[in-house]
Point group: C2
Chain length 336, copies 2
DNA sequence: CAGCGCAATCGAAGCGCTTCGACACACGCA
DNA sequence: TGCGTGTGTCGAAGCGCTTCGATTGCGCTG
């Protein structure tokens, strides 16, 4: 079943069929209808390889998904799924690359023209893949922001602003000493962009408002969370507000706080940076800055498509944080 | 940079370069060396589309990942990653399809020759995609086992045997009344193969051994787990053994049991069906049947590759369960 | 020593599509 | 009436690779 079969069936030339399909030249309505009907009747599907060869476009993009210690898989998958969905909306498929494939994987899929562009998740401040991406002639979009963004297209939640927003919210409620319960230590050790930027925003806003801070990296295991929280509240008894930037830790954290005989939000306010579904499932529902995975994934695809059609210069897109008050943050308790 | 450039550089014809690359005809060691050197010097990478067009092989396989309510994303990703890794080991890439794309997605990637074969995860007992898969001329492998396996290639842990093994272990320890804390209700409602098979094995073995059983589907949220466990132990005070087939529930379940003042394993034995990392991270470490995601993913790829080279008939591969005793199951407590 | 078989290589056809230039025709305008 | 302009369609030339059959030169065998 080839394009020439369709052409014969519709009584036109193969090139006409091609133009009907691509819309790159005008075709009379009557011809278009006949061709589309033939395609339908014959169940024609163009050969992807032939198309890629002739047009120099594969209509596939590569997505590098993170598989590193400390990442929260369900959230990473939210990003991945939204990339796939958005890509499909724009007639593209997604080739899955793992972190393990590394830079050679990027070179391979680009060098063999297997993909038209690349989306990279979980970018580090000084990411080893960036020189490779720069060296490729293929466009790419980073989900996350490295230190040097020169010539790169990046998109992410504005984590610095998110950190600031959490502090501002707590400060406005009167809290004078707050702590950030953060990502697992390994995430900071490899200098993952989003984690570092959150801490920076958290500290900067607190400094500007004269609020005292502590930052506690935190492993996800419930026991580790309990230990961190207990240790924290023990060492810093004045802490009345917590910012949690660690999805799997939110449940265990609330349990641990309760286990210490403290009520949320009466004795301790908690603000999370997390996807809405995680923030709303807890009891009490968490005041949170939502992590708009869907929007970020969709934006990454849009930006990549723009680069494929070479519109505009590279740019860094930081989505403004939205803090939604729920039931976990309240005014600072009166001093005992 | 084309194959003819390499050929010129090495002083041979393009077809010789091709044969060096594919190994489909014998090439003298001297020529092979020259060609490989030229490839290296020039940094040649063959054009994937051209290759696919000429050879009728894309060296890409499609993987349909599950995104349904109730599935445990990290475990699903373990499967996916092992599929990608195994595929790469065999010179194939992986195209990511989401459940949402449905049957039309399968038809599309097969019909356009975008992929050579398809791997489908999370198969239901009466899966809607199976007729489509049967109708395609492309080979496919299911991870999971439907009711009618005629003509299909499937691979999975033998969940029925796993259910049996858990019961057998508890029964051997003297337990006479046990319960299965299962997957979320939605998983049973859509009749997911692995969940149903576990229940069947659990019930059959218990019946044969004269052990009384209860089956409790269970949502993953900690509160829901606590409610299920409390309700269960309340209604069935004679239960001294639990089989847990629900990854995210194991932590909350242990907490809930403890919350009821019962010790594991002194008062209540627990056996899990879960990946080893989940079973070993708890306190106490769980006696468990491991879920060999890596092996299943690898097998799925092997089976698909065999079908691509059309070796052998379709077959259902059920990996035998391995029950590893750890610290969560002990002899049934003496009656009060 | 003619003839054979085998190993190593080449040339050319063709995979199924896109795209460029050419062409035919209709229309409006001078 | 003739000419430019624009629209719709066609034909042919590739895109870069694989693969088939043909060819060459060699060492053997009978």
């Amino acid at each position: 079943m080839r394009i020439s079969d369709v052409a014969r069936h519709a009584g036109v030339s193969p090139s006409t069929v091609s133009y009907v399909l691509s819309g790159k030249r005008s075709i009379s309505p009557a011809t278009r209808r006949r061709v589309l009907e033939s395609i339908d009747v014959l169940g024609y599907q163009p050969h992807a390889g032939a198309r890629a060869l002739a047009s120099n476009r594969s209509n596939v993009i590569a997505l590098v998904v993170p598989l590193r210690p400390g990442i929260h898989v369900p959230v990473a998958m939210q990003f991945a799924v939204s990339v796939v969905t958005s890509a499909r909306d724009r007639e593209h498929d997604v080739l899955l690359l793992t972190q393990a494939e590394g830079e050679s994987g990027l070179r391979r899929v680009a060098g063999t023209s297997m993909v038209d562009g690349i989306i990279v998740m979980d970018v580090e401040v000084d990411d080893a893949r960036i020189p490779t991406l720069r060296s490729l002639s293929h466009p790419s979009v980073l989900i996350g922001v490295p230190a040097d963004t020169e010539g790169l297209t990046c998109v992410d939640l504005d984590f610095e602003a998110a950190g600031r927003a959490c502090v501002a919210h707590l400060a406005a409620l009167g809290h004078r000493e707050i702590a950030l319960v953060g990502q697992p230590p390994s995430v900071y050790e490899r200098r993952t962009g989003f984690a570092e930027r959150t801490v920076a925003g958290f500290r900067a806003e607190a400094h500007e408002r004269g609020v005292e801070t502590t930052v506690v990296p935190c492993d996800a295991a419930p026991a580790a969370v309990a230990a961190s929280v207990t240790g924290l509240l023990d060492e810093r008894p004045g802490v009345t507000g917590l910012v949690v930037h660690n999805e799997p830790a939110v449940g265990p954290l609330l349990d641990a706080v309760r286990g210490l005989g403290r009520e949320v939000p009466a004795d301790l306010s908690v603000v999370a940076i997390a996807p809405d579904d995680i923030a709303t499932e807890t009891s009490p529902p968490l005041t949170s800055v939502s992590l708009p995975a869907e929007e970020v994934g969709g934006r990454a695809v849009s930006l990549l498509m723009d680069k494929l059609d070479d519109f505009g210069p590279p740019e860094v897109t930081l989505l403004p944080p939205r803090l939604v008050p729920r039931a976990s943050a309240a005014a600072r308790p009166a001093l005992p």
